[in-house]
């Protein structure tokens, strides 16, 4: 069941009504049933995977919780008779027991993810190597379906178990509540990747019918659909034409494809998250924001703090910090400091960890070399910018333009171009084609063809381009208004006439300009594949 489908709209409408009719203490139970029903529609066999993750994490969490509890009890009962050394030995022993449960849980769940998501990638690479050394390379691919949202719910659930191990909070005792945390349907498709201590504050609570929640939530949903069906699904037609035929569409068309894809991905992903957060809001549940006007970033590093925030912070908290402060990294720090200099000592552990994190981020997005190269390219740009920082400071001390609007606009445009260029790896079929297409922008001078009617052969009419242009202006305006805070709160303070005129205009725009019908395929969200 796609978010952008009539079935889904009926599904959430019925859910909203039942949710506020039934006794409030059963609201979370209804959400669990709805989530499993939603997942059942996606593919009945997927339920086995999500149930396996829930049950294994529940058991590991409870075991870790029990060990932590018995440790606290034992230490308080024997507070006086134990020496500091004895306490430490006891704690270490308990910690290693907890560690074994954590490790088993991580291996099991990341193991499932690895098998379903990456086994065919590994087989393809083995075949490739085998052929290169004269073998047959004949391992056949597994016919295994990728369960919907598995990357998202696995990361979210593993974040939970790591937090329990770290003692950040106690494990959830009710397995059905944990099951809801794992499967909460609005965020199953493409995140955000929530934290248990954050989401559980509202997920299991009783929610009375509140006009503001319903009104704001519905507005957010409508805004999300506008981005998805009016903009993303429309521009997708041109993007698909351009990237599926790289032999024909080179040079100027590669540049158009690159920019269109940046526009499509923004509308698709942020629109999807708007729908998610909006649905949660109608239900009285608070889901973390995943974007902070990312296309206004002035550097790639800043962009990654503002785009897909919950994924970035997941990698930071559960991979980057543990890696960069691990015993191995400390040894590297000590060694480089002693044998080279403090400057390198500071940088090497951070850079090694950064490379590993970006490699993993790439792999998380998809099981292909395109995504791995995409991740490493992001890493490369971030590391180079970091190392060039003294040069930038020197430049700005000589040429005082850093605070001018013109320079900031330049930084924003530069960042958008850079991230769009790196994103080309998302689009083309393999890494060499991507490099070739990027190169063609500078070697194939067919920019005049953009104005000879060729743009009308990409599957979009003049009217479609008009709608897209208007969409771009609206997105830009909303982003600029957002600088002063919530757009909906600002709208709410306007006279009724203006407010309702805007609501209806948006609704009518979706109904009239939504990309439906022949030639359009109401599509799955891009991030759903990750």
């Amino acid at each position: 069941m796609l978010f952008a489908s009539y079935n889904f709209i009926v599904f959430i409408s019925v859910l909203f009504i039942i949710y506020y009719i039934i006794p409030k203490k059963y609201q979370w139970v209804l959400l669990l049933l709805a989530s499993y029903l939603f997942y059942f529609f996606a593919g009945p066999s997927y339920l086995i995977y999500i149930a396996a993750t829930t049950i294994s994490t529940y058991i590991a969490g409870r075991m870790i919780g029990n060990i932590a509890q018995s440790q606290a009890r034992y230490l308080s009962e024997h507070k006086k008779e134990l020496t500091r050394g004895e306490k430490r030995v006891y704690r270490d022993r308990q910690k290693s027991k907890m560690w074994r449960w954590l490790l088993a849980c991580l291996l099991f769940n990341f193991g499932i993810l690895a098998v379903v998501k990456y086994s065919n990638f590994v087989i393809a690479n083995i075949n490739h190597i085998s052929k290169a050394v004269g073998g047959t390379g004949g391992f056949s691919f597994w016919n295994i379906a990728l369960p919907m949202g598995i990357s998202f719910y696995t990361f979210q659930t593993m974040g939970y178990i790591i937090d329990v191990y770290r003692g950040k909070y106690s494990p959830e005792k009710n397995i059905f509540k944990l099951a809801l945390f794992v499967s909460f349907f609005p965020q199953l498709v493409q995140g955000p990747i929530s934290r248990f201590d954050d989401l559980s504050q509202t997920l299991f609570k009783e929610h009375p019918f509140e006009y503001r929640n319903i009104s704001f939530g519905l507005q957010r949903i409508v805004w999300g659909y506008f981005k998805k069906v009016v903009i993303a699904d429309r521009i997708m037609v041109a993007v698909n034409t351009l990237i599926k035929d790289p032999e024909t569409y080179q040079g100027a068309f590669a540049l158009v494809g690159m920019l269109f894809y940046a526009f499509q991905l923004y509308a698709d992903f942020t629109g999807g998250i708007d729908i998610t957060i909006g649905i949660a809001e109608v239900l009285g549940i608070k889901v973390k924001e995943n974007f902070d006007r990312p296309y206004f970033s002035k550097s790639i590093a800043e962009y990654w703090r503002r785009w897909h925030i919950t994924m970035g912070t997941w990698f930071r908290d559960y991979l980057f910090y543990p890696l960069s402060t691990s015993k191995g990294m400390m040894k590297i720090y000590k060694f480089t400091r002693q044998h080279f200099n403090p400057y390198l000592g500071k940088r090497i552990p951070v850079y090694i960890s950064t490379i590993i994190v970006w490699f993993t981020t790439g792999l998380w997005h998809g099981s292909s070399w395109n995504f791995i190269v995409w991740g490493l390219m992001n890493c490369f740009v971030i590391v180079i910018s970091q190392e060039l920082e003294p040069l930038y400071s020197w430049f700005h001390s000589k040429v005082r333009i850093g605070n001018t609007i013109g320079f900031r606009v330049f930084q924003v445009i530069r960042t958008v171009l850079l991230l769009s260029a790196i994103r080309m790896f998302d689009c083309y079929r393999d890494v060499p084609t991507t490099f070739r297409m990027f190169g063609s922008m500078f070697t194939v001078f067919n920019y005049r063809e953009l104005f000879n009617g060729s743009m009308l052969n990409l599957g979009l009419s003049m009217a479609d381009y008009g709608v897209l242009l208007l969409g771009l202006v609206i997105l830009l305006t909303v982003s600029l208004v957002q600088r002063k805070g919530s757009v909906r709160a600002q709208l709410a303070s306007r006279p009724h006439l203006i407010r309702y005129a805007i609501y209806y205009a948006l609704l009518i725009a979706i109904l009239i300009f939504g990309a439906y019908g022949v030639g359009y395929d109401s599509s799955q969200f891009i991030y759903n594949q990750f």
Binding site: R84, R88, D163, R166, K168, D317, Y318, Y321, P322, S324, T325, M329, M330, Y333, K334, P342, G345, K346, R347, P349, V350
Partner: protein, 76 residues
Amino acid sequence: MEELLEILEELHPDIDFEECDTLIDENILDSFDIIALISEINLEFGISIPPDEIVPENFNSAQALYQLIERLSDED
């Protein structure tokens, strides 16, 4: 506290660490400094700062950082 101030001053000799309480908020300490600090604290005090303690509140001032070290060594 003396040892901690020495470590911090080695990282940024130009900052008055006894006074400053916006080390993170004003971007005086970057991620390289934080990771280096954690390693130095480990070498000097034998204390491991766990990843979930890497939050601005613990690193904004020398005092906050010292309190974190004391808390972690008490737990030990």
